[in-house]
Amino acid sequence: MNVDEKDGSGVYQRVVLKNSSPYHYLKVCLVLEDELTRLSAVELKHFIITGLKNLYGEVGAALSFDLLKYDEDTLTALLRVYSRGLVKLWSSLTLLGSYQNQACAFRVLQVSPFLLALTGNSRELHLD
């Protein structure tokens, strides 16, 4: 973290923070072979932890992340993870290939160090 402070008259203050975000946020969507299968939030979190454990072992399974929001109908979830664990979490999501013996895939829709950015993605602008 790098803080450079320009303090003028005491009224105007500007601080630049580099890589200050403690967390990264991911918007993910689970696609299953059998589209009728539904997972509860707890099942989803367990499933992701299994993925982490497979790829990164016990150290990976201990990586803490939060399931901020989960929509059971669309299987879309918002995850929060410490910035240090982003690559680990993301890659283990990528390599998750089966849920209870049926093929599945995690589609990572967006990744950002700011939660606000996930609700303002201009790539979602559809004009037709």
Binding site: V31, E33, N54, L55, V87, W90, S91, L93, T94, L95, L96, G97, A103, C104, A105, F106, R107, V108, V111, R123
Partner: protein, 276 residues
């Protein structure tokens, strides 16, 4: 930086599976995909190379790439799994039906030949077994200079834990050797759910030891230079380009050149455009 590509979708007889795969690839944001025909020549017998199914036969209308207004581009590619040097016949006319030509060598000698001699575009690195040989700097650098690209595919890593270890281990040793240059990461998917989005693949390639920048190149710029390299094979080093004027040449598949001139090695010019 160019568009995202996945130059390895495994061909299956089942058309609907293939269509689903192409649709999914377009949805994920890939602008170009190649359908891969695996071919393993059997001993002694003169091998029968499969002919590619024309894209127009496969799909009536190509799906539109996500977030873009253009349709996806679909190419054909042939991969030869080689266990003996006579499996590769440099002048085989069958090769010309394919846009890309890849080789998967299984011995060190063949790997060396593939890097230095064969007129091919891609060298596949085996990801389903422990590498039967170590990568040596000299042939790898030779391949990079010639504009031949190494390919690591990730769908085996999705299927199985042991394969995953081999994929990561083999990819790491390759990338240590070539310093992250001229590596392309593709899926080799057999069904739609084995495909991953371009940003996912970028992140995954970090595990293979690629840097942030090389990761993105592995699914975009490098693939583009492979395409260009494939064109030089068809068009006599990219200098002369011949098309049969009478046949209805689609934009996907050019008619094979008339003369043997296209067997000339890629010219200097191509070399620089690929390695730059």
């Amino acid at each position: 930086m160019s568009v995202f590509m996945d130059l390895n979708l495994t061909f299956t007889e089942d058309k609907s599976v293939l269509q689903r795969m192409i649709e999914t690839a377009a949805q994920l944001g890939f602008s170009t995909v190649a359908i891969n025909y695996m071919f393993e020549p059997k001993a002694k017998k003169k091998p029968q190379i499969p002919a590619p199914t024309p894209i127009t036969e496969l799909m009536d209308q190509l799906p539109v790439v996500q977030g873009r207004s253009r349709p996806i581009r679909v190419l054909n590619r042939l991969t030869l799994v080689m266990s003996d040097s006579f499996h590769f016949r440099s002048t085989a006319p069958e090769y010309r039906c394919f846009d890309l030509l890849a080789v998967q060598p299984t011995t060190e000698k063949l790997f060396h030949a593939a890097c230095m001699v064969y007129d091919i575009d891609i060298i596949c690195v085996s990801v389903t077994e422990r590498l039967p040989f170590f990568f040596k700097r000299a042939p790898v650098n030779g391949a990079i200079d010639r504009g031949v690209v190494f390919e690591v595919s990730y769908s085996a890593a999705i299927r199985d834990s042991t394969m995953r270890r081999y994929t990561i281990a083999n990819a790491i040793s390759l990338i240590e050797c070539c310093k992250g240059k001229s590596v392309m990461v593709s899926s080799a998917a057999e069904k739609a759910l084995e495909l991953r989005g371009p940003y996912d693949v970028t992140n995954l390639s970090l595990l293979f030891g690629l840097s942030d920048k090389d990761c993105k190149e592995a699914v975009s710029s490098t693939c583009r230079s492979v395409l260009l390299h494939g064109e030089t094979r068809k068009t006599a080093s990219g200098i002369i380009y011949t098309v049969k004027s009478c046949s209805e040449a689609s934009d996907q598949q050019e008619a094979p050149p008339q003369s043997e001139t296209c067997e000339a090695p890629p010219s200097k010019k191509q070399k620089s455009s690929v390695t730059e």
